[in-house]
């Protein structure tokens, strides 16, 4: 191996120079390993940080914004909600079950780290085409991993997304959002303070799993490469039972106010937790590697410091409380060991025995704050203008099988969602399959029902973002707003997970920057603070980058939750109305992508109109004036109305939908309303007063799904297609090779 060590660890020559400058000397191997994991893209956000700064982060209800393990907002009644989303894309490609399972475990730890009890997860997922056997293998494994871990750890899964598209064939996306609830005064931050306080490691033993790139440091010590990978598996195995006990143990410690600060161990393991707690608290730490319980014999200090073994937490405890902390850990059968102590100054010292030799010493904050920041070159695609011209509408003459096209676009997610416990804690008023998930809001300590509700939605649309990352991202935020309006909720905050390709590719960087701009613009317009997020880059395979896929999660509050929200079920005789602008364009639509038309131009979002549409939808829902409601998104009015008919078991006759655009366009700010004839005048008055465009499109009735002049289908045939789409596809079998 001729390559200098730092380069094999993924550090550039400049980065090494910087480390030497910080330390005033050459780093040793242990120190180099810590810098290499902490300065990785994953932990340092070195390519994205300059852009993330543009996101608006302030808002009336924000208690904790980006920078901590999770964002926290105030939802009234002395209750706070912690929220965070994270990706586990790459591990899920090679070992779907465990990759997804450990993704769930990781995001849940971020939430109870804040003192919050995790009450819900959501899982936006992206897989390769469903007719590809390996993509099905990935999808099946990911879903059972989320199910296996989430159900067992006891956090209900209340929603998410599933998209199959060729752009994800070599790189699926597994994002998981978690929501936690806490009494406002229990909020804790991941910081160490109080010189002399102890660092206590809670949870699993530390093994060689997930030490990734830094394992090259030890390759000399082992024989052939096979043995080496065997000894240092890149895959971690999740243990939901350990995590469940860890949740209960940590929440009990926090309730009893026995810890000063607490931090989960995620990416970069102990290096990250030790340095982050110390630097946030403005202190240093002496860290004893020999005190870390190890799963395997003969682990090197750098292995211990960089291992990503799962289900571990680092708590900062004053010596007086140690005994009680150890007792509570014992009750929950959680392993606990004192591994360090808080020191003055800002140095993180790694020792072999707490009074033993110093193995490494770095300024704790340098692992974070001094991490390199890159403003990488950006460039729009060369053919940007030509792409804009290449609209799907150009190809309309070749295709006019409206029924077939519609049937191809509909599928029930039940094959997936029925594998998830969506009801635990008795909060779930609207679960998977709703416009947005709705939870009862109960006080986290007394259990008392506040009579109010929380609503959460996750949205992402790679099709829109492939066509135009800026507008696509803004539209994604807009869709979330509308989803919340459909359940009567007022939005409070947003989190995002930015899934992009290789940042060293200028087009990818341009996409990222554009997406952040679009998201920022929309968040500012909607007065929606960004309270946290995650960036996942290098989503590529064999040189092909995925379509840009920013995912957002938006949480809102429902003031009076005394009945389930209207949902998709209309009743026989309901009048059907679409509110919002005339549909325009098919670019970026599910219909167009299904046909292979992946280019074009997106219409700009009319923010004022969108706000009005959200407002009036919310009003109608809150006043219980509509039987059913469905925002128009993927698949256009065609899919929205078909889903409503399927949910209801009642067909419809529609008119005034007479073209591909009218049927499949996904242009924004539109909602389908089903209104009982008795309420029609009432509803139309409210719509008139709100000055929103509206059109009566038909009537809910019978057992056929009819659109005058376009199609006429038996409701049963749509229903069958919808129900059997995924089960039949998965019956085709899966293979991992």
């Amino acid at each position: 191996m001729n390559e200098p060590v730092h380069r094999t660890l993924g550090l550039t020559d400049d980065e090494l120079e910087k480390i030497i400058e910080i330390l005033g000397r050459e780093p040793n191997h242990l120190e180099l390993a810590m810098y290499s994991v902490m300065w990785s893209e994953h932990c340092s956000y070195k390519s994205s940080r300059v852009h993330l700064k543009r996101l608006p982060v302030e808002g009336e209800h924000v208690l904790v914004g980006p920078g901590e393990n999770a964002g926290v907002i105030d939802v009234g009644d002395d209750i706070a909600i912690a929220i965070r989303i994270e990706s586990h894309n790459h591990p899920s490609y090679i070992e779907p079950y465990q990759g997804a399972a450990t993704g769930v475990g990781g995001i849940i730890r971020d939430i109870f780290t804040m003192g919050a009890r995790p009450i819900a997860i959501m899982d936006p997922l992206r897989f390769g085409p469903i007719d590809d056997a390996r993509s099905r293998w990935v999808a099946e494994g990911v879903v059972s991993g989320i199910s296996g871990y989430g159900n067992s750890v006891g956090v209900p899964n209340i929603g998410g997304e599933t998209v199959f598209d060729e752009t994800y064939i070599g790189n699926p996306l597994v994002n998981v959002l978690c929501l936690g609830i806490l009494p406002k005064d229990r909020l804790v931050l991941g910081q160490a303070s109080g010189v002399g306080n102890l660092a206590v490691l809670l949870g699993s033993t530390t093994g060689r799993d997930g030490i990734g790139g830094v394992s090259v440091l030890a390759s000399a010590g082992f024989g052939d490469e096979d043995e080496d990978t065997e000894k240092r598996p890149s895959v971690q195995v999740g243990d939901p039972f350990e995590e469940k006990r860890l949740i209960e143990c940590c929440l009990e410690l926090l309730d009893a106010r026995l810890v000063v600060g607490i931090q989960d161990l995620g990416g970069a393991g102990l290096s990250c937790a030790a340095s982050e707690t110390a630097s946030r608290g403005g202190v240093g730490m002496d860290f004893d590697v020999s005190a870390v319980p190890q799963r395997e014999m003969g682990m090197e200090p750098f292995e211990i410091m960089t291992s990503e073994s799962q289900e571990r937490m680092l708590a900062i405890v004053s010596p007086d409380n140690l005994e009680n902390v150890l007792a509570i850990s014992k009750k929950w059968e959680i392993r606990s060991s004192v591994v360090g102590k808080v020191t003055e100054g800002g140095q993180l010292r790694i020792l072999d025995g707490i009074d033993g030799p110093v193995l490494g010493e770095v300024p704790a904050s340098s692992l974070h704050e001094d991490a390199p920041l890159y403003n990488r070159p950006m460039a729009p695609p060369d053919d940007l203008n030509a792409r804009k011209e290449d609209k799907p509408e150009k190809y309309l003459l070749e295709t006019n099988d409206f029924s077939g096209d519609l049937l191809n676009l509909i599928y029930s997610h039940e094959w997936i969602t029925s594998q998830y416990d969506s009801q635990l804690f008795l909060n779930t008023v609207a679960g998977p399959g709703s416009n947005a998930a709705v939870l009862r809001l109960k006080h986290p300590v007394t259990g008392e029902d506040t009579g109010r509700g929380l609503a959460v939605t996750t949205d992402g649309n790679h099709r829109w973002c492939a066509v135009d990352p800026r507008r696509g991202s803004a539209l994604t935020v807009a869709e979330s707003m509308l989803n919340l309006a459909c359940v009567g909720a007022e939005p409070r905050a947003l989190v995002n997970c930015l899934n992009f390709g290789n940042p060293e590719n200028p087009t990818v960087m341009w996409q990222l920057s554009e997406a952040i701009d679009g998201m920022s613009e929309a968040c500012r317009e909607f007065d929606l603070p960004v309270v946290g997020g995650n960036v996942s880059l290098y989503n590529e395979s064999q040189g092909t980058n995925i379509d840009p896929t920013p995912i957002v999660g938006v949480i809102g509050v429902i003031d009076t939750l005394d009945a389930p929200p209207p949902g998709h079920k209309w009743s026989e005789g309901d009048r059907l109305i679409v509110i919002g602008p005339e549909p325009e364009g098919l670019s970026g639509s599910a219909w167009a992508f299904g046909k292979g038309y992946r280019k074009g131009i997106l219409r700009e979002l009319d923010y004022d109109l969108h706000k009005k549409i959200c407002q009036v939808t919310r009003e109608l829902v809150q006043k219980k004036l509509v039987t059913a409601v469905h925002d128009v998104s993927s698949g256009g009015v065609g899919v929205a109305t078909a889903e409503m008919a399927i949910a209801s078991g009642v067909g419809c006759s529609l008119a005034r939908i007479s073209s591909h655009e009218a049927l499949f366009s996904e242009s924004s700010s539109r909602v389908v309303l089903a209104v009982n004839p008795d309420e029609l005048t009432n509803v139309e008055e409210i719509l008139n007063a709100a000055e929103v465009p509206k059109a009566r499109i038909g009537l809910a009735h019978g057992d056929r799904f009819t659109i005058k002049g376009l199609l006429d289908l038996e409701l049963q045939s749509i229903q069958n297609k919808w129900e059997n789409h995924l089960p039949i596809a998965f019956e085709g079998g899966t293979t991992q090779g």
Binding site: I94, E95, Q98, S204, G207, R208, D209, E230, K231, R232, P233, S234, V235, Q236, V237, G238, D239, F241, E242, R295, E296, S309, Q310, E333, T735, Q736, G737
Partner: protein, 84 residues
Amino acid sequence: MQFEATVEVQLKAGIADPQGSTIENATLKLGFNGIENVRVGKSIRFAITADDEVKAKEIIQDLCDKFLTNPVIENATIHLQGVE
């Protein structure tokens, strides 16, 4: 020819086995001493018809690679026994 095959699928050596450790702890609590390193795997038995033993092994190996294991975290051991 027909063979009885057993494929034992085990987690690779470095991979954590939470189920195994939990069982190990439970044996202690049940008063069984001296039990260590519990690892839990699958045992898959089936009958296979193939021209000869070599061929049978080949098929089973292929089956393991494609389907029965994920070589990233698991190993398979194949046992074969002729019945006719």
